[in-house]
């Protein structure tokens, strides 16, 4: 774990209102694994850090993907090039990819695409056949970047790809499922793929395992820390009925 003053060195729009921010953060870029996250502190800005999955990590640069939804994300999206944030990471457990599975589906809804580029590279490195399965409300909101050749898109309005839920777009006969997206989507996925690796969302106080604020209800009866034991879990390890599905504050979000 490192804490760095990380300057913003690039920004690009990858879907309508969805941005990739590139921060220079060599130590973190060198060590981050797929499914891990970084915790960003904006000053001036809200009191607490904001967690973001590592989108890509190459040659000293950590990328995160976000959409302005509140004070923190709006402030990050408005950073000028050269301005710095405090970047803490890499944090959390990351995906466990199963080499024996032969193939893997990387299933994401909306911003849930964030950890997938790293996951795709890790899977490819293990020799897995990678299926990129990504859904959004409309074609405009679909992330315009993907990894690999096996791409399956889904949109709620049918404007591109499969017309309907991204879950229905998952090909048959896949060895392992890895997923990220709204907890509601992951709960539905868990019913079909109980052994899927899912990266969940919780409110976080610290991201480092001390506050116990990010409690994840496990089927074993205990509460885990999303920031330490998670954010990646096997789908059937989670009590989806107790995990909050509604994480929004503002009326609009």
């Amino acid at each position: 774990m490192f804490e760095l003053q990380a300057p913003l060195i690039a920004r690009r729009e990858v879907a309508s209102g969805m941005w990739v921010l590139s921060f220079s953060a060599p130590e973190v870029a060198a060590t981050a694994r797929a499914g891990q996250f970084v915790n960003l502190l904006l000053r001036p800005g809200p009191l607490l850090r904001r967690p973001f999955s590592v989108y890509r990590a190459t040659s000293g640069v950590v990328e995160v993907l976000l959409k302005p939804v509140g004070a923190g994300t709006a402030g990050l999206a408005a950073l000028a090039l050269g301005e710095s944030v405090s970047l803490l990471g890499p944090l959390g457990s990351g995906f466990q990819l199963d080499q024996a599975a032969g193939s893997v589906a990387l299933v994401s809804g909306g911003l849930g695409v964030a950890p997938m580029p790293l996951a795709a590279r890790a899977a490819a490195a293990l020799g897995l056949q990678v299926h990129w399965v990504h859904g959004a409300r409309t074609a405009a909101e679909l992330c315009s970047e993907w990894e690999g050749r096996r791409v399956h898109w889904a949109t709620d309005d049918g404007s591109i790809g499969y017309h309907g839920s991204v879950l229905a777009a998952i090909p048959e006969g896949i060895g392992q499922v890895v997923a990220c997206g709204p907890n509601r989507m992951l709960a539905a996925l868990a019913a079909r793929f109980p052994r899927a690796q899912v990266a969940i969302e919780t409110y976080m106080g610290c991201g480092t395992g001390v506050c116990l604020g990010c409690a994840v209800p496990r089927t074993s009866g205990v509460y885990d820390r999303a920031c330490k034991e998670g954010p990646v879990y096997q789908a059937n390890d989670i009590r989806w009925d107790v995990l909050p599905q509604h994480l929004h504050y503002g009326l609009g979000a």
Binding site: G205, T208, V222
Partner: protein, 298 residues
């Protein structure tokens, strides 16, 4: 050692880690530990406790609400898993003890008495996030005194009492705890707060209410720590919204002998180290003594 003895505990510096914000001392790798004055471990009960269901935290203007519900492994696991580590450490660890009855507090104190690695007890009679016990004991001077006296009788360890701000008259509770044998008072624990979800109209925290911490509460904490320090002869340890040396100095000026840092550690894992470093750079002892002298002569 720094020669800083507060409430029976030899501190390495006047800046400690607050209970519930530093885990068991093993979780915060980036903290500059040589600057850590000591730590208070996460609140413990006799038995293991699962804690409250999520959501457990809500961010508020310059603050946060938490309702963790004193999740923890229970005292036996604490003694087995953590005390042996603490016994090797070069800073003191106090255990934050919690009960649903006076007897439970006393039993916990007795169980921890003489356990290597435990340098003192902090009685938590101020947790807003449990249905039984917690803040109930801290709101009433007689109950606060009863818990303090029972713990005092059950252990030879230094006994600190952590006060709740949710009282009409803090001085009364402070004096009751002092008379009952407390070695120091810690002021303050979180203030009860609440936030409603705009979409559903329901409380955002599953527990309903939570404890407010962070910079938002600092002026309240400074006032209550000052009031406690004015009311008793035993040392007062200031807590609430400290994020750096200037904040810590306010509590020292208010009459505190030491401070604890909580929420700031979530934002910067090395908040304690940086605060202590800046206090050293300011020559805090001279500063505090200088202004005290100026005030008493002015």
């Amino acid at each position: 050692m720094s020669g800083l003895r507060v409430g029976g505990v030899e501190l390495r510096s006047p800046v400690l880690a607050a209970s519930g914000t530093f885990g068991y001392g093993t979780e915060v790798p980036l903290c500059d530990r040589p600057r850590l004055g000591g730590m208070v471990s996460k609140g413990i009960f006799l038995q293991p406790r699962p804690g409250t269901p999520p959501p457990r935290i809500v961010e508020t203007p310059s603050g946060m609400l938490n309702a963790i519900g004193l999740q923890g492994p229970g005292v036996e696991a604490l003694i087995r898993d953590y005390c042996p580590l603490w016994a090797e450490w070069d800073f003191p660890v106090l255990v934050n003890i919690n009960g649903e009855s006076v007897d439970e507090y006393a039993e916990l104190a007795a169980r921890l008495d003489g356990v290597p690695g435990v340098s003192g007890l902090e009685i938590n009679i101020s947790c807003p996030n449990v249905r039984e016990g917690g803040m109930f004991f801290g709101k009433d001077p007689a109950q606060a005194a009863a818990v303090t006296a029972a713990v005092r009788r059950s252990t030879r360890l230094p006994v600190w009492v952590k006060l709740t701000p949710a009282v009409s008259d803090l001085a009364e509770v402070a004096r009751a705890c002092e008379s009952a044998g407390a070695d120091a008072l810690c002021a303050i624990n979180t203030l009860v707060g609440m936030s409603f979800d705009l979409g559903t109209g329901r409380p955002r925290l599953a527990f309903g209410t939570g404890g407010l911490s962070g910079p938002a509460i600092r002026p309240i904490a400074v006032h209550l720590a000052h009031q406690a320090a004015q009311s008793v002869a035993i040392p007062v340890i200031g807590i609430g919204g400290i994020g750096g040396a200037e904040d810590a100095l306010e509590f020292l000026y208010a009459g505190c002998q030491a401070v604890q840092i909580g929420t700031a550690t979530f934002i910067d894992p090395n908040a304690i180290g940086k605060t202590m470093e800046a206090l050293e750079a300011l020559d805090w002892r001279r500063l505090v003594e200088g202004t005290r002298a100026a005030i008493s002569s002015g």
